[in-house]
Subunit: 309 residues, 4 copies
Amino acid sequence: MKPEAERIARAVSPALEEILGETFPVLDDGFVRVVDYMGNDASVVQAARVSYGAGTRKVSEDRGLIRYLLRHRHTTPFEMCELKLHVRVPMDAWRQWIRHRTASVNEYSTRYSVAIDAMQATQPGRWRTQAQQNKQGSGDPVDPDEGAALSAREAALHAEARATYRERLDKGVAREQARKDLPLCTYTEAYWKMDLHNLLHFLALRMDGHAQKEIRDYATVIGEEIVSRWVPLTWEAFLDYRFHATGLSRMESEILAAVGAGDPVKANAIAREAGWLEPGKNGLKAHRERGEFARKLKAWNLDVPWETD
Amino acid sequence: MKPEAERIARAVSPALEEILGETFPVLDDGFVRVVDYMGNDASVVQAARVSYGAGTRKVSEDRGLIRYLLRHRHTTPFEMCELKLHVRVPMDAWRQWIRHRTASVNEYSTRYSVAIDAMQATQPGRWRTQAQQNKQGSGDPVDPDEGAALSAREAALHAEARATYRERLDKGVAREQARKDLPLCTYTEAYWKMDLHNLLHFLALRMDGHAQKEIRDYATVIGEEIVSRWVPLTWEAFLDYRFHATGLSRMESEILAAVGAGDPVKANAIAREAGWLEPGKNGLKAHRERGEFARKLKAWNLDVPWETD
Amino acid sequence: MKPEAERIARAVSPALEEILGETFPVLDDGFVRVVDYMGNDASVVQAARVSYGAGTRKVSEDRGLIRYLLRHRHTTPFEMCELKLHVRVPMDAWRQWIRHRTASVNEYSTRYSVAIDAMQATQPGRWRTQAQQNKQGSGDPVDPDEGAALSAREAALHAEARATYRERLDKGVAREQARKDLPLCTYTEAYWKMDLHNLLHFLALRMDGHAQKEIRDYATVIGEEIVSRWVPLTWEAFLDYRFHATGLSRMESEILAAVGAGDPVKANAIAREAGWLEPGKNGLKAHRERGEFARKLKAWNLDVPWETD
Amino acid sequence: MKPEAERIARAVSPALEEILGETFPVLDDGFVRVVDYMGNDASVVQAARVSYGAGTRKVSEDRGLIRYLLRHRHTTPFEMCELKLHVRVPMDAWRQWIRHRTASVNEYSTRYSVAIDAMQATQPGRWRTQAQQNKQGSGDPVDPDEGAALSAREAALHAEARATYRERLDKGVAREQARKDLPLCTYTEAYWKMDLHNLLHFLALRMDGHAQKEIRDYATVIGEEIVSRWVPLTWEAFLDYRFHATGLSRMESEILAAVGAGDPVKANAIAREAGWLEPGKNGLKAHRERGEFARKLKAWNLDVPWETD
């Protein structure tokens, strides 16, 4: 624990230094760029070792320790690294983004300044239908001809909103009031800073397939282009132990044990007690949790112990 | 410190109970209502006394202790009270609201559900000009005839945005994408929960004259209609020690001492060293900090020691 | 979303009301008691429904929705409930407790008041040996005869520390300085308030077998005696989807799929690539992650595809 | 707002670079050293300008903008800078330190490792008496002869505690249990990271004369040796607008206006209404708030309008 040397230098991430300030485009007119950062993989290790003592040095090298920390959700050492981004995002995606309360944020103010003159435009092939199953998601693309009409109508509405905003400013209306009818997809910009632990949580939620496509595009760029360069060992461990990890509930674990023991009767009994096996018109009634577990079993090449699914 | 009685009841605020669930209208179609709460003035006192010990009981009764806590910024006892509101707010005001990161929030989701069919409409007499001094604020009202034209144009844009949104939904576009061109003033709803310490901070910032009128209207209702009933002693102390308090910087305090000593030469010397007295075309160059302090001196019926202001 | 009724009452948890203020003893002289609370299972449901819209009402009844939320880590609705405890804890356990930063805390101050005259005493049969495997944990009990000697020595040290503290106070030393040599196991008291989401996180970590026994005793009482009464549906879901849940990393999932397919060669290849199968003196070198997964496979009655473990 | 250049370098603080890793001693065996940092004064300015727009560039140079931000409590731009310290602190001071919940912390674990073999020792001349007025503070030094006896007794208790701890470890007691009777003044070490906004708040509270001397010593070193080098413009503004600032309550402001108007009758009326002027045996009853304001008036060379004080 004694300071090893009087004089030290800041932790550096060479691969991140390569792209400092570089603009990664997202959507039609957005971007993400790294403005500043603190720490690297070694900073995570250093913080973990102050907690766990010198003894850990013998048994684990850095990669192993980082993987151990992520595997066991020892999250505090990851808070020792910080990333500061400059982002340009449509306000409707930003509304989701800003819900992550652990960030530090300075956003472009349309009270002080005239709003950024850019609204997210949708290409004719990029309109999406409402998902059938997922009440909050998107499904197949809209028919391209319909899409062309939708895009034309979108452009007309943007022009109207822009003209109305301009007219208000020309007539002397206060900026803070004039902006009230800008469309939600108007671009904003911000400095956004977060520690690595909270950033991984943000990425786990926003890179996920259930996240809306627009914010998912940003999260994917932040993860794959930036975090992967900044802290490569942490990024690899995040993918292995979190992003591509699977969870099993108590019931799932018990059913899996019955399946492993070749006892489908017991497996069905557990599922029945959990309320998964209510009879419907044709076989079992649909049950989302049962369906999800059946998909897991199939992916593991194990037998699904009930008939439907 | 020993538990005084085995069985206790929850802390109650009788005046808040009177208005539980009641809708306080704000703006043209918004509201605030209390859904639930925890604690009252006595809860603040109880928490303070566990910290400061039984000794404080002798010298201070409840009101005195609450005022002492607020005066000395002993803020943790105020965290022991919680307020949960149901609010309906235009999204552009909500964008400011949500920047307070210490709240718990569940907002109406326009991914899951069709957006609320209400946009904030501006009466002809309610358009405001850009403030001259304050780059971020509003000044005098816009001329009413201009206002009528602005309101008509606003209504047309709302109709167009609404029709476009409806058309998208009718054509099967996903809700999460269809909403992208709704105006920022579209109403949203949320459950919003905060502890009393952070709520007072929110109110201090958002009831302030520099806050935008729309969110100020909400904050004023929350403060004057709700917090004043819920924790009347805390509310009174908040007004006396925070909302109507004045701060003096080191320089202001030193100049005040020179003014008090009847030594304008010294007062000017301090101001000069602070860079407040740079000569301009007619007397002194404008200086915002100097001007603010001059206004304080005048309010205290004390002489301003320099000529301009 | 429209307010259903003008007048409402606070959410109540009948079973928690039964034990409000009641003291649950922990360790030799500690306790936990509920001082106040806000919300119940229905408050979680209410908050979730404002986000997910009225549509969810049809398909899910309350229990199902709460289980869905916990299963998919939709955590914000659980923040709508708050619990305020009065606790009496030895300072060394409190040091771990206070690391949870999302709580509101008012602790008994030994600057203001004379320290609580109670130190945690260890019965002769309660001394624990250092765990062999787990560098941070405890193993078997210490031999009872040794234990008696240890307890006697502990009592002597407590007496000495108490006498020294008393002497300092008698000589007029400031309380804030006199306390400096109290043992870490001196009891303190605090009001401690946390929302249900963060409380479940606290319980998941502190009820876990890796947590130190002392704080685990407190967490277990909070969970089993208090949370189980307060929000029974949430508590049941917490046990099923979190406390008794199992996680599988990407590698574990891939090996499980190979095991399920009856392909031990492939399973070994994946494990080898993951660095799990380094040869040692007798069979494979010890590897903690491999060992943990082997235990999971055995619990599921599935074959471990490598020889050691 | 458009990125000015594709390639940028991290913000650097030259004077802080000079002392990176350097150990600043505090107390008899503690220290503070900077391990890493992010940002500098210019980072605060950069973040403020994204909010307030390019317009501010004309009127304010960096120093003026930083002072403006601190004067008006625009705190978010200060969150863009981070400081990571390695500290060695007695646990009783650390107990106060850790109450600041906005930090990231990794502390040396005495579950994993043998406790640091150092306890804070008090020199004979450093014992302090209990303050008469301030229930939580220290007053004059203890008589040196008494001090010598107190220090001898302290050394004996430390030796006894150390021997007991060693004996437990020798007998195989788990480290997590063996530590339970270490004195509160045993040193611990930690990495501690905080953003500049929250750090200034920490310093305002802990450099204050009401803070306990031990933690005040740490805070003073962090402020005067580290923050002053890191962000010199922010540090200067912090001293002028926060640390050496004075607050006036509503009542104080009103009384000051009456004093300024030469109207002691009105001043007394306001004070009387505020409950400050209750008659006692000799003149007025003691009243802390009144006394504090009287001291302010005297410091400003203004007349105190009532007799006592």
